[in-house]
C-alpha cells in the first residue's frame, strides 16, 4: 500500500488536484473561484502528462554523451500546447466575467440567477 502511494504519488496528487479543481468549478458560486477551480483542474492534467513523460533513470532530453536514457519529451511538448490553451481559456473566461460584472453588477452566480429571475429584461449597457 505504502509502496503504491510512494511509487505513484505524482499520479495521486494529480487526481487529488483534479478533484479539488472539479469541485470548485461545480460548487463555487463566485465566477472567479470557478475559474480558479478550472485552472487547478487543468494543472492536474499537466502534472499527469509530465509524469507520464518521465522515464525511470532518464535524464532531461538534451543530447548528452553520458546519458543512458532520456525522458520522453513529447508529453512535455504536448502540455506546452495545453498550457497555452488553458491560458487562453482563462483569458476568455475573465473577459466574460468582466462583462458579466458590468451587466449584472455581481459575479456571484446565485445573485445573477436572482437578477435574471426578477430583473428587467433589457439589453445590457
Amino acid at each position: 500500500m505504502v509502496e503504491l502511494i510512494l511509487g505513484k504519488f505524482n499520479y495521486l496528487i494529480a487526481i487529488a488536484l483534479a478533484m479539488i479543481g472539479f469541485y470548485a468549478m461545480i460548487a463555487k458560486s463566485n465566477l472567479i473561484k470557478k475559474i480558479i477551480g478550472m485552472n487547478i483542474f487543468q494543472t492536474a492534467v499537466f502534472l499527469f502528462y509530465i509524469s507520464i513523460g518521465k522515464v525511470h533513470g532518464g535524464t532531461a532530453p538534451i543530447v548528452w554523451d553520458k546519458a543512458v536514457l532520456y525522458d520522453n519529451p513529447l508529453p512535455h511538448v504536448l502540455i506546452l500546447t495545453a498550457i497555452v490553451v488553458s491560458v487562453s481559456t482563462t483569458a476568455v473566461a475573465f473577459a466574460l466575467i468582466i462583462r458579466i460584472q458590468k451587466a449584472f453588477g455581481t459575479i456571484e452566480e446565485d445573485k445573477i440567477i436572482e437578477i435574471k429571475r426578477n430583473g428587467y429584461k433589457g439589453d445590457m449597457e
Binding site: 487543468q42 473577459a95 466575467i97 458579466i100 451587466a103
Partner: protein
C-alpha cells in the same frame, strides 16, 4: 496548381485560420471587406472539401503529412469517406451562414465588434474543420479548443446579457469536456506511446483488457458527450442557442454538435473499434441515453414558449438520433446516424435561420407572437414549414430518411422497441411544430411592422430547399453515408 491541390487538406484548415487573422486588418481598411472575405473563404473551403470527398470516394482515403513528417511522428490529416462527408456538411453550412450573417448582425452585435465577429467566425470554422480532418488525437483536442474558444466569444458577442452567462456556463462545461478528452488522450499515450489515430487503432486491440484503456474510453465518451450535449449533459445548450446571435446559433446548431458527434464516432469506432464498444457494452448505455434524449428533448421542447428555446431543446432530442445509430451499432442504423448529421444540419440550420429572420424583422421571439405571420412573410414561413415537416420526419423530406434508417436499423438489431421511441418523438415533434404552423397560417394577422432586408432569405431558402432535395434524391448522401458506415464497422476504417 498541383502544389495547391496536393496541399488541399491543410489549406482547408489554414485558409479560414489565415483569413481569421487578416480580417481585423482588412476591417481597418474597409468595413465591407470582412463579410466578403468570410464568404469567399468559406466558399473556397466548400469547394476544397467537395473535391477532397470526391477524391476520397474515387481513390480511397487521402493521407496528408503535415510538414511532410511521416506519421505516426508527424501530424497526419486524413480524408476518408466519413470525414469528407462531415467536412462538406460543415463547409456548406459555414458558407450559408456566412451569407446570412451580414444581414442579422447589424442588430445583434455592437457596431464596432462586427469585424471581430467575422474573425471569430472564421476561427470557429477553422476549428470545426480541423476536428474533422485531423488524424491525430492531440491535434483534435487543439482544434476542439480552438472552435470552443471562438464559440464562447461569439456567443457572448450579442447584446443580450443572458448570452454572457450562457457563454460562461458553456465555457465551464466545455472546458471540463475538453479536459476529459485530453485526459483520455494522455492515458492512451501512456500505454501505446502514440497519438496517431491509425497507429492507435493498430496498437490498441492487444491491450483492450487493460484498465487504462477502459478508463481512457470512459473519459473520451463523457468528455465528448458534454460537447455533444447528449442528455443529461445538455444543460449548457438551450441557453446558448437561445441567447447567442442568430448567425451563431444557426452555425452552432447546424455544425457544432455534429462535429462533436463526429469526434465521438471517430474515437469509438476508428480509434477503438466495434468489438471494444461491444465488449464494454457501450451500446446499451448509449441506447438508454439516446432514447432518453429523444423523448426528453421533445417533451421539453413542447413546454417552451420561446421559439429559440424550443428549437434548442429539439436539438437535444436530435442529438439523441445521431447517438442512437452509434448505440445500435449496425450498418443501417449507423448510416442513419451519419445521414442525420447532414440532415439535421440542414433542418436545424434552416429553422434557426428562419427564426433569426423573424426576430430580426419583427422583434418577436415568443411563439404566441408568430400568429398570422404566414400572410406577411410567405417565403420565410414556407421555409419554416418545410423544415418543420422535415423535423417531424414526413416522407420526401430529409428527416424521414434518417428516421427510416434508424428505425429499420433498430429492427435489424432486434431492438424493435426503439421504433416506438422514434415514432413517439415524431408525434411530439409534430405537436410542437404544428402549434406554430397553425398559428402562422390560421391566426389573425398580428400587428407587426416588418423591417429590414429580404436578402437573408436567399441562404435560408437554399438550406430549406435542400431539406426537400436530399429527401427526394437521397441516394447520393445515403450511399456516401453507407460507405462510411461500413468502413467504420469493418474494422478501423482509417
Amino acid at each position: 496548381m498541383s502544389i495547391i491541390t496536393s496541399n488541399f487538406p491543410v489549406l482547408l484548415v489554414i485558409t479560414p485560420l489565415i483569413v481569421a487573422v487578416c480580417i481585423p486588418l482588412l476591417g481597418r481598411i474597409n468595413k465591407r471587406i470582412p463579410p466578403v472575405a468570410a464568404v469567399v473563404s468559406t466558399a473556397f473551403t466548400l469547394m476544397v472539401s467537395i473535391i477532397l470527398l470526391s477524391t476520397a470516394l474515387d481513390s480511397g482515403p487521402i493521407s496528408y503529412w503535415l510538414g511532410n513528417w511521416a506519421p505516426p511522428w508527424g501530424i497526419e490529416y486524413v480524408v476518408d469517406t466519413l470525414s469528407g462527408f462531415v467536412l462538406v456538411v460543415v463547409a456548406f453550412m459555414a458558407l450559408m451562414v456566412a451569407l446570412y450573417t451580414p444581414g442579422t448582425i447589424r442588430d445583434e452585435v455592437p457596431n464596432d465588434k462586427e469585424t471581430t465577429f467575422y474573425s471569430l467566425y472564421m476561427l470557429l470554422v477553422a476549428g470545426l474543420l480541423g476536428i474533422v480532418i485531423t488524424g491525430d488525437v492531440f491535434n483534435m483536442y487543439v482544434f476542439i479548443e480552438i472552435s470552443s474558444l471562438a464559440g464562447y466569444a461569439l456567443i457572448a458577442s450579442g447584446k443580450k446579457r443572458e448570452a454572457l452567462t450562457a457563454s460562461f456556463n458553456y465555457l465551464i462545461l466545455g472546458t471540463v469536456g475538453a479536459t476529459f478528452f485530453i485526459i483520455g488522450v494522455g492515458l492512451l499515450y501512456m500505454v501505446t506511446g502514440t497519438l496517431n489515430m491509425a497507429d492507435l487503432a493498430s496498437r490498441l486491440p492487444e491491450i483492450y483488457d487493460s484498465k487504462v484503456v477502459l478508463t481512457a474510453f470512459a473519459f473520451f465518451s463523457v468528455g465528448l458527450s458534454l460537447k455533444l450535449a447528449l442528455f443529461p449533459l445538455h444543460i449548457w445548450l438551450p441557453k446558448v442557442y437561445t441567447n447567442a446571435p442568430s448567425a451563431v446559433s444557426s452555425l452552432m446548431a447546424a455544425t457544432g454538435t455534429k462535429v462533436a458527434a463526429y469526434a465521438l464516432i471517430r474515437i469509438t469506432l476508428s480509434v477503438f473499434d466495434v468489438e471494444f464498444s461491444r465488449s464494454v457494452d457501450f451500446g446499451s448505455i448509449l441506447l438508454v441515453l439516446s432514447c432518453a434524449a429523444i423523448i426528453a428533448g421533445s417533451v421539453l421542447a413542447i413546454s417552451q414558449t420561446n421559439i429559440k428555446m424550443m428549437l434548442a431543446y429539439s436539438s437535444v432530442g436530435q442529438v439523441g438520433y445521431i447517438v442512437l445509430g452509434l448505440a445500435l451499432l449496425n450498418e443501417t442504423a449507423l448510416t442513419g446516424s451519419l445521414i442525420h448529421i447532414l440532415n439535421h444540419a440542414l433542418m436545424k440550420g434552416a429553422l434557426f435561420m428562419v427564426v433569426g429572420i423573424i426576430v430580426f424583422r419583427t422583434g418577436v421571439e415568443e411563439i404566441s407572437g408568430l400568429r398570422g405571420l404566414g400572410r406577411c412573410m410567405p417565403f420565410t414561413m414556407a421555409a419554416f414549414t418545410i423544415a418543420s415537416l422535415s423535423m417531424i420526419g414526413v416522407p420526401l423530406t430529409v428527416g424521414f430518411i434518417s428516421k427510416w434508417y434508424l428505425a429499420v436499423g433498430a429492427v435489424e438489431a432486434g431492438m424493435w422497441y426503439v421504433v416506438p421511441v422514434i415514432l413517439v418523438s415524431s408525434v411530439l415533434t409534430a405537436v410542437y411544430f404544428w402549434r406554430i404552423v397553425e398559428g402562422i397560417y390560421f391566426g389573425k394577422a398580428a400587428n407587426v411592422t416588418l423591417k429590414g432586408p429580404t436578402g437573408l432569405l436567399v441562404p435560408t431558402m437554399i438550406v430549406a430547399a435542400l431539406c426537400v432535395v436530399f429527401g427526394v434524391a437521397a441516394s447520393v448522401p445515403v450511399s456516401v453515408a453507407r460507405l462510411a458506415a461500413s468502413a467504420l464497422l469493418g474494422g478501423g476504417g482509417m
